[in-house]
């Protein structure tokens, strides 16, 4: 209960810690960033390969497309890693030592969203790696 007093609303401007964790600075969307990158990676890879195989197979070599997509993968993995790192910092487990954040306080909510975002970044990272394997292992449309 007492932690909750931090962000009493609707009161005059809070300051310091309270302000840092205020609701306005948070977004539920943020935890979805990494999976969204996975979705884009998936759609772009699938669409590019389909269009290539059905439309442009004769125009240029598949390896060009594969390398382009693998390069895109590297960039996207870097972006997911960065998102994951930022989320890890928000979780702040090294300073607080709290692995779970079950309390109804602004700080716990903030760290929880960091934790969820961090875990989602890991799953998205693995998903992107999985989805790149066909590009590495298979070299033709057949």
């Amino acid at each position: 209960m007492d932690r909750d007093d931090h962000d009493r609303e609707p009161q005059p401007q809070p300051h310091g810690d309270e302000r840092e964790f205020s609701e306005e600075r948070e977004s539920l969307w943020r935890i979805a960033f990494a999976p969204t990158i996975w979705a884009f990676h998936f759609i772009i890879s699938y669409a590019a390969v389909s269009v290539y195989c059905f439309k442009f197979g004769a125009l240029f070599d598949m390896n060009t497309l594969r390398f382009a997509l693998i390069a895109m993968t590297a960039l996207m993995l870097a972006a997911i890693a960065w998102i994951g790192w930022r989320a890890f910092l928000r979780w702040d487990v090294r300073d607080t030592g709290e692995f779970t954040n079950p309390e109804g306080s602004a700080e716990d909510r903030h760290q929880f969203l960091g934790h969820a975002g961090f875990l989602l970044a890991i799953v998205s990272f693995i998903g992107v790696v999985y989805d790149t394997l066909p590009l590495i292992l298979l070299g033709s449309c057949r």
């Binding site: 609707p10 609701e23 999976p35 109804g104 602004a106 716990d108 929880f112």
Partner: protein
């Protein structure tokens, strides 16, 4: 105290929040409590007699919804028994091939569309408000409308089998089989289920807004019940999964009714587009069914383990992660369609990746059980059965996700075994667990422990006896969906075992159904919290009260009944928020999305006939076209629109009699909201997101034909008139700008100008619609898929233009009759939001009809 100049939608909460301990300790005088209860009872009274059916309260609608879905399931189960009887011996002639086709088509369609998805909506409508300490869902009449639509559509679809007119092309309705099929079966499937899909989207809108905006004060996102997280994820999935199917149905029905050749390869069409659209829906659908059921497990497991769930964040991760990844799996139903192997590879990889989040949540449950002191109650028995069966189904899932393995077992009984293991383990068992667990909550009675154990062991044993041998039947080569088989292939005895098992399952369900309906009048009053749960639904009152919660609590923990002492006592005394209904209205509190700060008192609607009428007319609009009766269909559609307008006009976003309301504990909240603060605005936003997805599916269709077809558009094809397309697009853009402008003008108090804009805008919309019609008028949609696709885009934008015109006129009328004023402008905000989407749709349509084909 309120500045009269501020728009009512911009008013803020005033006073103290959060409440202090001293405020909560202050007792509420007895006579005050008595008066408050009297007011609440009056406001929330369920209508008597035959008026009972006009009720819209979530406890009534949820109960009807659940029971209807359950009855549909039993009927679909009987169809399965008939099929098993037919397969009892080789060369059986009990059922004709044609009837067998109808049976398996209806069994699959009914289980998916009339049981599994509606069951999620039904259970959520029934219990989500209680998890959130809310009085009701934000839009009770929308729930009721959805229910009546579901009932009408469901009876229509499932009843068709009695006339031997049921669809028979399989639950996925693959063209060309389904498009060329004679009879009305395919139309019943397409129109009946489209109607139900729309009801599903309505429920999804309701549930998402409920989980985001109707949580009790203080229930931040990190303390909300896991069930609410799942509802959010599943609601979001419905918005992206159902619309592609609606778009597919739209094209399909245009082909069936008007011979526009979307799936006819002789005229440039491609049956594969249907498969893509169907499975973009169909695979996420599996998770749409699975996640909410496993959410029930997430509520039961902590109670039986008598400790908080382990890995709350991990479960959130797995729900959100599964929600995303499940959209990357659809082609694994299409491994044998000849797509490039490398494309199959992507889907195979994603199908293996989704196992990770799915597995994590099961491990979190198991870990919680290990760490807790488990009490093996009846609900837990069903959850344990669910985990065992689902894991087996998951393992075969990992196998069939590998394309070469799938090529061997595709369309055999191995797949039938796999999908029933996932659906029984992932849906049926957890839902039954939920029925046992929540029955004391929603009926205030207990189900029988003894009957429950009998039902469990019969269904669990029967299930394995039926479906375990099917793996082998399939590996031995027996195909699915074939009404009989020759003897001597080594599958006779396997089929006989499966048939015996099916009847054992049926016996279990008979006991379960009897337990639910048997009279329980003699049962003594049950304990208030019979399982010792820690979440808010167990603060329910016994004997039953209809007001939901006596007062809406301030929540600061995940398990408030365990961790917030005196909570229930204070709720009962009316110490918390909204303990009264002075004005005699039904109300609940709307809070902010992340931290659940109280921001508004929302009036919710009460009993009404209008929702039943609206659903009946909407039903007519969908059902008459099945028989090619278009005039009555159009009349019904018009009446449906009139009913809905009446319903909205009389009860939504009306200027309140006072701007602020004291909700108790020193807090005053606005009674009116507009724009992003308002639940109605969120509902429009969410609905339009789904609508945009359906439109995107049509646009995807254009590009799909371009990639799959060597000649799209065909060489020398006539294009739409560029001039008309340009004019139409410009007219829509201008109408959009006028609508947006009207909102600002109205806020600024320049009501005359706003009205002028709102009067001019519909004229522009109409001319825009005319322009789009004229642009494609010279093309013959039956000649080739290219003109057909252009026509389809035109029909889509014109249909939306009609809705857009009605909304503009609605706001104009609102302004003229004092419903919409500079201070109370919620309707105009919502309509502007709709127009943002419509404006973009028109721009994209203009590009797709006028520009893109010329460049392809």
């Amino acid at each position: 105290m309120t500045d009269r100049q501020i728009p009512a939608g911009d008013l803020m909460a005033e006073g103290v929040y959060p409440p202090t301990e001293e405020m909560l300790n202050e007792p509420v005088p007895e006579e005050v409590q008595k008066r408050q209860k009297e007011n609440l009872r009056k406001a929330w009274k369920t209508p008597d007699g035959w008026r009972y059916w006009t009720a819209v309260n979530n406890s009534e609608v949820g109960a009807w919804y659940t029971m209807t879905a359950f009855v549909f399931m039993l009927i679909a189960g009987v169809m399965a028994l008939l099929m098993r009887l037919q397969l009892w011996v080789p060369e059986n002639d009990l059922i004709s091939a044609d009837m067998f086709n109808q049976l398996f088509t209806m069994h699959g369609s009914a289980m998916m569309f009339l049981f599994a998805v509606p069951m999620f909506e039904a259970i959520s409508i029934l219990i989500l408000p209680a998890f959130l300490g809310a009085r009701d869902m934000p839009f009770p009449r929308l729930s009721a409308y959805g229910y009546w639509a579901f009932l009408i559509g469901g009876i229509f679809v499932i009843g068709s089998i009695l006339f031997s007119a049921a669809p028979k092309a399989g639950w996925f309705m693959y063209p060309p089989l389904a498009t060329i099929e004679l009879g009305i079966g395919s139309d019943i499937w397409l129109l009946g289920l489209s109607f139900i899909e729309i009801a599903s989207i309505a429920a999804a809108v309701e549930l998402i807004v409920g989980a985001l905006k109707c949580r009790p004060p203080g229930m931040r996102v990190n303390v909300m019940p896991l069930y609410a997280w799942y509802v959010l994820v599943v609601g979001g999935m419905i918005l992206f999964a159902f619309p592609p199917l609606i778009a597919g149905d739209f094209l399909f029905e245009l082909e069936r009714s008007f011979d526009w050749p979307f799936f006819d390869h002789t005229r440039g069409g491609d049956p594969m587009l249907w498969q893509h659209l169907f499975w973009i829906f169909g695979h996420p659908e599996v998770y749409i069914i699975f996640l909410p059921s496993i959410a029930i497990a997430a509520m039961i497991v902590p109670t039986v383990a008598r400790r908080p769930i382990l890995g709350y964040s991990w479960i959130v991760l797995s729900a959100v992660g599964t929600g995303f990844l499940s959209f990357g799996l659809w082609v694994h139903h299409m491994y044998t369609t000849g797509l490039p192997n490398i494309s199959l590879g992507f889907f195979s990889a994603a199908s293996e990746a989704v196992v990770i989040p799915t597995g994590i949540q099961l491990f979190a449950f198991v870990a919680t059980l290990i760490a807790g002191r488990v009490k093996m109650t009846l609900p837990m028995l069903w959850i344990a059965g669910a985990l065992a069966i689902f894991t087996a189904g998951g393992l075969t899932g990992v196998m069939v996700a590998v394309a070469p393995f799938d090529w061997q077992v595709h369309d055999t009984y191995f797949i039938v075994a796999h999908l029933h293991y996932t659906l029984f383990g992932g849906m049926v068992f957890p839902v039954i667990a939920g029925v046992y667990y929540f029955f004391p909550f929603f009926r205030k009675k207990m189900l029988s422990e003894r009957l429950g154990r009998w039902a469990f062991w019969l269904i669990f044993t029967g299930f394995n006896v039926t479906f375990l041998p099917m793996h082998l039947t399939g590996l031995l080569g027996m195909p699915r969906r074939v009404y009989t088989y020759p003897g001597g292939l080594g599958i006779d005895w396997l089929n006989q075992i499966s048939t015996v098992g099916a009847f054992v399952i049926a016996a279990g369900f008979a006991i379960f159904a009897w337990d639910i309906v048997r009279p329980k009048k003699d049962q003594p009053q049950i304990a208030r919290n019979p399982w010792g749960g820690g979440t808010l639904e167990w603060s329910h009152e016994i004997p039953e009260t209809k007001w939901g919660v006596r007062s809406i609590p301030h929540i600061t923990t995940r398990y408030p009944l365990w961790d917030q002492p005196k909570l229930v006592e204070r709720m009962d005394a009316g110490r918390y928020y909204l303990p009264d209904a002075e004005e005699g209205y039904r109300e609940t509190i709307v809070t902010s999305v992340i931290d659940a700060r109280p921001i508004q008192v929302q009036r919710v609607t009460g009993p009404a006939y209008i929702t039943i009428m609206a659903a009946a007319f909407t039903g007519g609009a969908f059902i008459f076209p099945t028989f090619h009766l278009y005039t009555p269909a159009i009349i019904c559609a018009a009446f449906a629109v009139v009913s809905i307008i009446y319903w909205l006009w009389t009860t939504t976003a009306r200027p309140p009699e006072k701007d602020m309301k004291d909700v108790g504990l020193g807090l005053s909240l606005p009674t009116y909201a507009a724009g992003p603060q308002a639940v109605g605005w969120w509902a429009v936003w969410i609905t339009m997101l789904g609508d945009a997805t359906a439109f995107a599916s049509l646009v995807f269709g254009v590009f799909f034909y371009w990639t799959s077809n060597t000649a799209f558009p065909p060489p020398g094809a006539e294009h739409a008139s560029g001039l008309f397309v340009a004019l139409a697009t410009a007219a829509f853009a201008l109408s959009w700008a006028l609508t947006r402008g009207a909102r600002s003008l109205n806020r600024a108090g320049r009501v005359g100008l706003a009205r002028a804009a709102l009067a001019a805008a519909p004229l522009l919309t109409l001319s825009g619609m005319g322009g789009f019609i004229l642009s494609v008028l010279d093309l013959d949609p039956t000649s080739h898929v290219y003109p057909a696709m252009m026509w389809a885009l035109m029909v889509w934008v014109v249909a939306h233009g009609i809705a857009g015109t009605i909304m503009q006129l609605y706001c104009l009328a609102g302004s003229l009759f004092g419903k919409l004023t500079p201070r109370y402008d919620a309707d105009l905000w919502n309509v502007t939001l709709f127009w943002h989407f419509l404006g973009l749709t028109a721009l994209v349509t203009g590009a797709m009809i006028g520009l893109v084909p010329r460049m392809m």
